[in-house]
């Protein structure tokens, strides 16, 4: 009896200690990124420019969705999420996760995230033809946002569709098999495969006209921001240098393509739809009060709010522009 009681008490103490000890800082920077999502600073990632610039080793881990990035940040395994979608970020801050937005990684048209409908369904008849049909959507990602916005543009009623929660790879396979009438996806390979069985509901130009654009951002845990503000600034700076180099056409596309696990042509095509604004543009057009990013945060925050995790009243407190290079 005494043994049992002491065992139970002992395990309580042990559990308490393990949970507290799980958060100890390591002398490296841990960054999350996506495969199949080619971005200029992957050249620096391969050439170890980041390690040199930060002065400590940088460990890169690839993730499938932005939501998983948040989970890893909360458990203390990731310090910086590079190119996290705005949707998972909004979901995270709605759930009061202690992370902040410090930079815009990339702005992309619907070449990078789009809804592909089966043959015979287009912008004109989507509102009637999608009724009662199944659609594949990776919920809680940028593709989810694009799905909702696209359906608003074509005037289709989401509540009449059956939304199947599928990752892009599965979604494209389901569309090719004919299991779903439409699949909303991100990632070059998945979109390419889906387009064998159909076409985008909105063209890149139409989406742009309707004001649908994707924004990927860089988010950092509050703890890391407090501890190493200099490192965050350097990380953002190196990334901006890579973007400038890409904008000037000087990036080594072979290295980027290889690191993104894509072929050269696909990489060039994907990156053709990307836009990398410089720090001044971000401050004056995107991250200022009433700027594009702030409007997006408000719209998305309300779009994905749930009763437990309602939208924040003011998203400017999760955005910090002070780490952008001057």
């Amino acid at each position: 009896m005494k043994k049992i009681v002491s065992l139970l008490l002992g395990s309580i103490v042990a559990l308490t200690l393990t949970i507290s000890a799980a958060f100890s800082a390591a002398n490296e920077v841990r960054v999350a990124f996506f495969l199949e999502w080619a971005l200029p600073n992957q050249e620096d990632k391969v050439k170890k420019t980041f390690d040199d610039a930060l002065g400590v080793p940088v460990k890169w881990t690839n993730f499938a969705t932005g939501g998983e990035m948040t989970e890893a940040m909360l458990s203390g395994d990731i310090d910086i999420s590079y190119s996290q979608g705005l949707t998972p970020f909004v979901n995270a801050v709605n759930a009061k996760a202690p992370i902040k937005l410090v930079d815009i990684a990339v702005i992309y048209g619907m070449g990078g995230t789009t809804c592909v409908a089966a043959k015979g369904i287009d912008k004109g008849n989507a509102s009637s033809k999608l009724d009662g049909q199944k659609v594949a959507v990776p919920l809680g990602t940028m593709a989810d946002y694009v799905f909702k916005e696209t359906m608003r543009v074509v005037g289709a009623d989401i509540s009449k569709m059956k939304v199947v929660d599928m990752n892009p790879e599965d979604g494209s396979a389901a569309l090719v098999n004919g299991d779903v009438a439409m699949a909303c996806l991100f990632g070059g390979t998945s979109i390419g495969k889906a387009k064998e069985a159909g076409a985008s509901v909105l063209t890149v130009a139409e989406a742009q006209e309707a004001g649908i654009a994707g924004i990927d951002i860089t988010s950092v845990t509050n703890k890391f921001l407090k501890e190493n503000p200099g490192m965050v600034r350097t990380f953002v700076e190196v990334t901006h240098e890579a973007n400038t180099r890409y904008n000037a056409g000087k990036s080594n596309m072979n290295i980027i393509a290889k690191d993104a696990a894509m072929d050269l042509a696909g990489t060039k095509k994907q990156m053709g739809g990307f836009e990398f604004p410089n720090a001044a543009t971000m401050k004056s057009k995107y991250m200022n009060k009433g700027g594009i990013l702030m409007t997006y945060l408000d719209v998305m925050g309300n779009m994905f709010a749930t009763s437990e995790n309602p939208a924040l009243k003011n998203y400017s407190k999760v955005v910090d522009t002070s780490y952008l290079p001057n």
Partner: protein, 631 residues
């Protein structure tokens, strides 16, 4: 409040059960030896203790006990957390929570980095010697900037004064902080504003409000105000750099040299460009950091330590509550908001969980517009149409009606039969269950039943027949060891994302388990029993039905219990992959929106359903094979 009562009740129940257990041992027969199954009979009081222990852990680690006993404690801890947060950046500079000064660590690291870079440059291929020399001299100069920052001699009076001022402000705060008059009373207008804002503030754990951030108590206001002041001090400190004229001179020299070199470079000299950029960054890294002479900040460090001690003392009861009632974590602040950190974040409070579960159970709310479990009215015609195969109408003699010249279609007997078998007729409606829980339950039930219906006969057949054993063995043994989820992508491609694919996956799981157990049961029948039945004149069919089947029943029923567990595991994962309904779908979506309460609800529901299945099978076992373990 309920939580408080529950906690009290549980503790009483545990103590009562333990006392009862001790008394029971005294009255127990002394002749039962260790290992006698009789010793494990009864023991409901231990079930009470076990369950209570689980619930108590949940209440304690989710901080629900704290919430029910001290609903204001989170708000007070939030104010304390604000102070801690505002001190954080300053504390990181000193060896308070770290092993060394931050600038010590930086200087150590950068000296190593510079040395490394020099070695890299010396061994670099394709660099001209002249460039190498320049790079190394630049790096050496960068190295020389460090002593300029750390030498007391160069420290400017202006910087010294600022440090002293800030230190004095911390000291002043330390003196004022414990007094009753801190913080100074606000003007009436501001005070009214504060009270007005407080009225709108929701309590801890209210929907959408994790921790109320505005200070509610006098003590909370004290910490809140101190945090604001410390933030100002911290900001002012970090906007100051120890950039004395000597340092700036050398820095300018280095930067000019770099600039000059860069201007002389061609576009194709990328290697040189990369090197010079890295050298520049190295210098900037030192430039951005707050590096001071070793003893320049001693006064400040001491002031911070003193303040930290005073504020900890001032916390008083809050600190004890934090240690005792907020195990393995605490409330953290980030800017003006506060959040739970530790198990309070990912382990939802039982009270919240059950409240949200109650909401989800409402058929009008549900999850993603589908109720958790409810009923809908379905016409009997649809059930008939589902069970009767359509070809019944096709094989009837005659032809389906053709439209006549009036443009009408006259139904004949064949078309009427078709209407019946396809369910196109009017009928009364009966309620049928629907919703996420029912869908998952049905899938497991169907997969399991199909597995039993096909697996048990085949297993017994394989246990009795040489051909069957040899023929089916490779087939079964090849697919059985593969984890069922490995089949999932393929099954989804072949059978689609609907129920058929999921049920088939579950069928594959239960099928192999049932074969193995039925086969083991059949081949394990004692030969003497078969001989006895045979000599009493039993036919083969009778031997199979009366001897072999009952003998394999214990194995089969154990197999079913194993299969149920495997089916649940597979189902949830299959619903993760592609789902529109089901508990696995609910959990996966909740995960994406960070609804931890919903995640725990799904886990809870799955546990309950698994328990329900198991209890049912245990009852069946008790009824059908009462002889087990008594032979």
């Amino acid at each position: 409040m309920i939580t408080g009562f529950l906690t009290f009740f549980i503790i009483v129940a545990v103590i009562g059960s333990i006392l009862y257990g001790r008394r029971l041992i005294k009255t127990e027969k002394t002749d039962t030896v260790f290992g006698n199954p009789e010793r494990t009979k009864g023991g409901m009081h231990w079930v009470v203790v076990g369950t209570s222990f689980l619930i108590l852990s949940w209440l304690y680690y989710s901080w629900d006990i704290a919430k029910s006993l001290y609903p204001k404690s989170a708000n007070e801890l939030c104010q304390v957390a604000k102070v801690n947060e505002s001190l954080l950046s300053l504390k990181y500079l000193f060896p308070i929570e770290e092993r060394s000064h931050k600038s010590t660590a930086l200087i150590k690291r950068e000296n190593i980095n510079i040395q490394k870079k020099i070695v890299v440059i010396q061994n670099a291929q394709g660099l001209k010697n002249q460039d190498k020399e320049l790079f190394i001299s630049l790096l050496n100069k960068t190295r020389q900037t460090i002593p300029l920052l750390t030498n007391e001699k160069y420290l400017e009076t202006k910087t010294k004064t600022t440090i002293n001022e800030l230190t004095d402000r911390i000291k002043q705060l330390t003196v004022n902080f414990p007094t009753d008059s801190y913080p100074q009373a606000l003007s009436e207008e501001e005070e009214n504003k504060r009270i007005e804002a407080l009225k709108k503030q929701l309590g801890w754990g209210a929907t959408g409000m994790e921790v109320p951030p505005l200070p509610e108590s006098k003590k909370g206001l004290k910490f809140h105000t101190a945090a604001q002041e410390l933030n100002e001090i911290s900001d002012e400190f970090f906007s100051m750099r120890n950039h004395n004229p000597e340092y700036l001179k050398l820095l300018k020299e280095i930067k000019d040299e770099i600039k000059e070199y860069k201007n002389g470079l061609d576009d194709n000299q990328e290697l040189e460009m990369d090197f010079i950029k890295e050298i520049k960054k190295l210098g900037e890294r030192i430039q951005y950091e707050s590096v001071f002479p070793p003893n320049a900040l001693d006064g400040m460090e001491k002031a911070i330590r003193t303040f930290d001690g005073v504020q900890k003392k001032e916390q008083g009861a809050i600190r004890i509550k934090d240690i005792l009632l907020f195990p393995a974590g605490t409330i953290v602040a980030s800017g003006p908001t506060c959040a739970e950190d530790g198990p309070g974040r990912w382990l939802p409070k039982p009270s919240d969980t059950f409240r949200i579960f109650g909401d989800l159970l409402k058929p009008s709310v549900g999850f993603k517009m589908i109720p958790m479990i409810w009923y809908e009215m379905m016409g009997v015609n649809r059930i008939v149409g589902f069970f009767l195969p359509d070809w019944i109408a096709d094989i009837l003699p005659g032809k389906y009606p053709v439209h006549n010249s009036d443009g009408k279609v006259e139904p004949n007997f064949k078309s009427k039969v078709l209407d019946v078998v396809t369910g196109e007729f009017e009928a009364f409606k009966i309620p049928v269950p629907t919703g996420h829980i029912w869908d998952s339950f049905l899938r497991v039930f169907l997969g399991l039943s199909l597995g039993i219906i096909f697996g048990v006969p085949l297993g017994i057949f394989m246990g009795l027949n040489r051909f069957a054993k040899g023929f089916f063995d490779p087939l079964v043994e090849l697919y059985r060891p593969v984890p069922p989820l490995a089949w999932a992508p393929l099954v989804i491609t072949v059978f689609g994302i609907d129920n058929v694919g999921k049920v088939f996956l579950l069928f594959m799981v239960s099928f192999s388990i049932m074969i193995i157990s039925a086969r083991a049961g059949a081949s394990g029948t004692q030969l003497s029993k078969i001989h006895a039945a045979h000599s009493l004149g039993a036919s083969r069919r009778q031997i199979l039905r009366e001897v072999i089947f009952p003998n394999s029943l214990p194995e089969i029923l154990t197999g079913i219990r194993v299969a149920v567990g495997m089916c649940w595991g597979t189902l949830v994962a299959a619903e993760f992959l592609a789902g529109t309904t089901g508990i696995g779908f609910v959990e996966n979506v909740a995960r994406k929106y960070m609804q931890y309460e919903v995640i725990w609800i799904t886990i809870f529901v799955m546990g309950m359903l698994g328990l329900l299945f198991d209890l049912t099978i245990r009852k069946i076992i008790d009824k059908t094979i009462p002889w087990r373990g008594k032979g």
